[in-house]
């Protein structure tokens, strides 16, 4: 019996995990929810490109990661010509409110922000989302060796930042 849930139900069931991944990537809870919302919107627009029977979660994570990278790059281009980012941008705390993140969550989000993007996405997928190296490599279109060496560096940096 290969009975699939309707697309909308599967998508809805995956929202908490998508938000967790967004929080691991983004610099604040409100950015994370913007990222989640953009991901869901794009997923609905391009749902005909998803092949039923393949993993919806990997497909959604990939969409989110691509939107995040685009956002980070366009922000970097903008900031080159503008004042340096405010202090609040470089720590993982949202000064305008948004959802009130626990102290623990604020600390780990701040630590993730200190990692270079290419380490952050690998750490988020493997250590937090629990994907295997091969699955992460496929989602990121990277060789598995690259994923594993980025994970080593990301882990070492995190251990120094958040402690054991």
């Amino acid at each position: 019996m290969d009975r699939h849930l309707p697309f909308e139900d599967e998508l809805t069931a995956l929202l908490p995990r998508l938000r967790r991944f967004a929080h691991a990537l983004a610099r604040s809870p409100s950015d994370a929810d913007d990222l989640t919302q953009m991901t869901v919107e794009r997923a609905i627009r391009s749902r005909s490109q998803w092949q039923p029977g393949t993993r919806l979660d990997s497909w959604l994570y990939r969409i989110m990661r691509n939107i995040w990278i685009d956002t980070v790059r366009s922000r970097a281009r903008k900031e080159k010509f503008e004042a340096p980012p405010e202090e609040a941008d470089s720590i993982g705390v949202d000064p305008t409110g948004g959802m009130e993140a626990s102290m623990d969550l604020q600390r780990v989000m701040a630590a993730m922000q200190r990692l270079p993007e290419e380490q952050r996405e690998v750490v988020a997928l493997i250590l937090i989302e629990g994907f295997g190296y091969r699955e992460a490599a496929e989602m990121l279109d990277l060789p598995i060796g690259t994923v594993s060496s980025r994970l080593v560096r990301g882990r070492a940096a995190l251990l120094a930042l958040v402690g054991a």
């Binding site: 929202l15 630590a111 250590l127 994970l151």
Partner: protein, 235 residues
Amino acid sequence: MVKDETFFAWLDGELDAEEAARVEAEVAGDPKLRELAAQHRSMQARMKSAFDTILDAPVPESISTIARKPEPQVIDFAARRALARPAWPSLPQWAAMAATLAVGIVVGTMVPQRSSAPVEVSGGKLYAAAALARSLDTQLASAQSNEADRIGMTFRDQAGSICRSFTEARSSGLACRSGDRWQVRGLFAAPEGQAGAYRMAAGMDPNLAALIDSTISGEPFDAAGEKAARDKGWR
């Protein structure tokens, strides 16, 4: 000394049994490696438990509502048909004539030499082109948000071909499957001066409604039927 990559691959359960046993033995005999493994396990557990709080938090409504299927564009065709009948007593002939006429009138303006034109002429017949053909191929009326083209109804004609009504930037029309293409059976230009807002208008062009009425056999497809038809390549 075990390589960093191998050590962490062991920690993450990525090694095969044989290699895992080898690293395991090496770590067991090395207090520094044992300490490193413990530190990393504890660090990962802290990260994970902090981020896992999001799994239990409610998803903001702004996100959960858009994840739900957007309401399909409902066209109350039966009601329209009931209204239309008294006004057009000999509907099929009239509709066919109107459709032919409309195609004749709009082809001159709707088929410019641009790749963005919604239709193209081939062998004396009019076919959906480029973006419109793609929309007809892939788009489901039950799952469209802000695409440039909107699909209205999908149904079979009396000969058994699948037909779909559509609205694009400057026109609305009906296209039916012919081989691997969508042959345009009728194309109705948006009223002058309304092109931009045309697709937003709630009402269906009465000429298109009449054409559908003379073409349709049975009931239009529901969302499941539409999807099944797409999955079978509109056969």
